[in-house]
Amino acid sequence: MVSGSTFQGGLFSDDVLGKRAGATLRLGAYGIEAETLHGQSFSLPYDECQLEVGGASGRMVFCHGPHRTLTLFCEDPAFLPALAHAGHGRLLGQVTRLTQDARRERTQSLLRGLLALLVLVLVGYGAYRGFAYATSHSVEALPIAIDEQVGKLAMESMPLEGPKVTDPVLVQAVDELVSRLKPHAGGTPMTFEVTIVDAPIVNAYCLPGGKIVLFTGLLKAAKAPEQVAGVLAHEMAHATLRHGIKRIANSLGLIAGVNLLLGDTSGLVAVAVELAQHGLLTSHDREQETASDVEAVRMMAAAGLAPTALADFFALLEKDGAEVPGAIAWLASHPQLADRQQEIRQRSEKLGAFQPRALTQDWEQVSRHAKQPGLQDSKP
């Protein structure tokens, strides 16, 4: 029934000028008939036909005659199925074998491709992790002076969002908290310097080297000094664990990263300034946030302050977040608060009892001054 179908293809033959030509192929009753554009006719009986699939597309069907003196070829997808039925199915066996081979080859190609893709992804991921591990560990070997230099440059590059606060009530209150926590900070000793900024933002951040920025919005939102101490301990931990400098090292390009491994820190400083200008230096990943929470819990307990105060502050923001002006800043830079509260409380329980030592500051006075820095308190 298929006999008579025509397909566009071509042929190889020594009888054709140039030994090849485009041709119209027709499946006749006894064989494939081919006619070139110049009118030359050829015929290849089905019984003498050797089929093969290949070519640039992998889908070209070749029909070779005896001794390959005549080869007909066609890329039409309908050609091979038509050959199966041509000449009362004389080529059915060959067509079936070729179809099965092609299907097997396609499956193998797909598997090879997927395997190659998997290897590529694994190699890429391995290289990325290896590079991040190497740069992160080379950071550990750098002196703290580098952190301080990077922190100083970053501080100069970042806008403060408000005026610096010099109100002695606020400065002394924050100093007392930092002084209480500082002796219990881990790692290499560093100088912590807190800048209080008058802005309705419930947030604080720490730059490499221990430069901390604390907004009056956070002091206003906190219900107890221990909650502010918890936040400060968390930010100090970012500095002692050198999260900022590791973040910069991970953002380095390959060349700057290799230079860092060789001890050249110029790329590190350049990237720090770049990240600081885009406000990216103070955001940390989940792993770093958790590590800072854990370290803050340890520092708070060692300093005689309730280690769960940080979790209480998180709970306060989560509960009243919508009512606390500026709370969105903290929520945006410190995600997944619920999980972290749970973890802080679990860690605190594991630490067991601690020796509480009360703070001397008048928190109501601090809160009043946070709302209005420079406030003149009426004498009793």
């Binding site: 071509g10 090849r20 030509a21 485009g22 041709a23 070519g55 640039a56 992998g58 390959r68």
Partner: protein
């Protein structure tokens, strides 16, 4: 139409004389000079999608130039790099061209894009090939001399040397030897060409020149 390839092989160019009613299609930017009696019109080859495929995947220009005349005139076509130019006449057959090789063709030749496969991409031979089919004369160029081979079997070609081949040939990419030999012999990946058909190689590879120059910078 009369055509002559001159200044072969290093600085080959094609001079095509067109008579009234004849036309020529050439790669954008290939025209070095033309008679004032010729009209040149830029157009997308085969519509927007085809032209986009030619540009994005075939390594050719988005536009092609069509030359035509009501009287007669000549146009001289060149390629951007030094090397030979050759021509073939398609008679209902086809030719796969490496990106950048196409120079010009008669209007009876259709230009499309054929998928070359991921292996080709890995072997630095590109994801796609320009596919010329139909009837008419086709000119293409190479960097260096052009070596024409009539194949009935298998041939191993180093990366960057394959210029054009008939679609009856199949290509696969492989290592030049074992992993050690491939890395240190300077051959890296090779192209294995199998089947029956004609292929055209270039005696120099642009990547080889770029690598050599780069090593001296």
């Amino acid at each position: 139409m009369d055509a002559e390839i001159r200044n072969r092989p290093s600085f080959a160019n094609v001079r095509v004389r067109l008579r009234a009613g004849e036309g020529l299609i050439a790669e954008a930017g290939a025209m070095a000079s033309m008679s004032p009696t010729l009209q040149m019109r830029a157009r997308m080859a085969g519509g927007f999608l085809s032209a986009f495929a030619r540009r994005a995947f075939g390594g050719e220009s988005f536009f092609i130039n069509e030359f035509a005349t009501d009287s007669e005139g000549e146009v001289i076509l060149t390629q951007p790099y030094p090397g030979d130019i050759t021509s073939i006449t398609l008679q209902g057959t086809g030719l796969m061209l490496q990106p950048g090789a196409f120079l010009a063709c008669e209007p009876g030749v259709k230009l499309g894009v054929g998928w070359a496969g991921l292996a080709s991409f890995v072997g630095s031979e590109g994801l796609c090939r320009l596919r010329a089919t139909g009837s008419g004369q086709l000119w293409f160029g190479a960097y260096g001399g052009i070596i024409e081979r009539e194949l009935d079997g298998e041939l191993i070609v180093d990366g960057g040397h394959l210029v054009a081949y008939e679609p009856t040939l199949s290509l696969s990419i492989g290592l030049a030897g074992g992993i050690f030999s491939s890395l240190f012999s300077g051959e890296g990946l090779i192209t294995r060409v199998r089947g029956r058909g004609k292929l055209y190689l270039q005696s120099r590879a642009l990547e080889g020149l770029a690598g050599w120059v780069n090593s001296h910078l």
